[in-house]
């Protein structure tokens, strides 16, 4: 079975995020007041073959621990679905 996985990686809370801070300072200049807690991360998505959704999830978590995130400074969230991938136009 094919599954779609999406991994969100960002700096752990408590670790300064200079990109987020810079964006947070830029937004009021464009008139967006009252924005706080900006954090910048990355999204990694892929399809993978697995026997079931749980297997797909645990394989993705293993990938995060070994490669996709550096858990010294980054946290990650894993989203797995069995919905078919969107066909790029």
């Amino acid at each position: 079975m094919f599954f779609r996985a999406q991994v969100h990686v960002k700096l752990k809370s408590g670790i300064a995020d200079p990109q987020g801070q810079t964006i947070e300072r830029a937004l009021p200049a464009l008139g967006y007041e009252g924005v706080s807690g900006v954090r910048v991360g990355k999204v990694i998505e892929f399809e993978l073959q697995a026997d079931g959704e749980e297997a797909a999830r645990s394989r993705t978590i293993e990938m995060c621990e070994r490669l996709l995130a550096n858990t010294v400074i980054e946290s990650y969230e894993v989203f797995v679905t069995d919905e078919p991938a969107e066909v790029p136009s």
């Binding site: 300064a16 200079p18 990109q19 490669l67 996709l68 550096n70 010294v72 400074i73």
Partner: protein, 228 residues
């Protein structure tokens, strides 16, 4: 007998020639080792030079740590032999968990290319034997991700164990505890962001980098002498 230095070359490394030149000026014999090799030649010292290994995609050093040569580099370190990671090499060593912590983007989000001053805070490591404690070395930095971080307990343990070998006099990048270079617990692996290989010739403005490489060669000579 001259010490033998293996310099690992990844796709994207760009400081390997400077490292070769600097070690050879100190009468060492150097050899380039391609990242895709499974084994190291017979070397006393391994250098992971600076650059952008594997394009630094995903994270700096994240892909390089899985290069085939890294298994042999790990065994080299486990055998107690000397291993130094410079700049990108330091990032690779942290990703490979041969050194604690991780390198974040510089505070201020600027790529920094300038001279820095490093204070030798731990004398008597194989990397600092030729320097005096508290001696300030003039060595250039050239990085975007040099902002070292480790969690509180790890930092405390490292301080107690004298692993913070080199600190910036004037912290350029936000690095925790002014860290410029650290060793592993055993003391045979050093990672540092500044480039000693670019400070081994007075024509380039400083020869202080040669204190670090020279210390390593002294250490190897003492070990070899002890073996004979």
């Amino acid at each position: 007998m001259s010490a033998r230095v293996g310099i690992v070359v990844f796709p994207g490394s760009n400081c390997e020639l400077d490292c070769r030149q600097s070690f050879e000026r100190l009468d060492a014999v150097t050899e380039f080792v391609w990242h895709d090799d499974d084994t190291l030649p017979d070397v006393d010292i391994v250098v992971l030079p600076g650059g952008f290994a594997h394009g630094d995609y995903l994270r700096t050093g994240a892909l390089a740590r899985f290069s085939p040569i890294m298994t042999a580099v790990n065994e080299h370190a486990e055998a107690g032999k000397l291993l130094i990671g410079i700049c990108n090499g330091f990032q690779v060593l942290c990703e490979a968990q041969l050194l604690p912590g991780a390198l974040r983007k510089n505070e201020g989000l600027k790529f920094l290319c300038k001279w820095s001053e490093l204070r030798v805070d731990v004398k008597g490591t194989p990397f600092t034997e030729r320097a005096d404690e508290g001696q300030v070395l003039r060595v250039p930095i050239n990085h975007f991700e040099g902002n070292w971080f480790a969690d509180g307990p790890t930092l405390e343990r490292m301080r107690a164990n004298d692993q913070i070998a080199l600190r910036y006099v004037d912290n350029p990048n936000g690095s925790l505890d002014d860290v410029a270079g650290i060793t592993n617990e055993r003391g045979n692996v050093l990672g540092l962001m500044p480039h000693p290989e670019r400070a081994c010739d007075s024509l380039l403005g400083s020869e202080d980098g040669a204190l670090i490489f020279g210390s390593m060669l002294d250490h190897v000579a003492a070990r070899t002498g002890a073996r004979l």
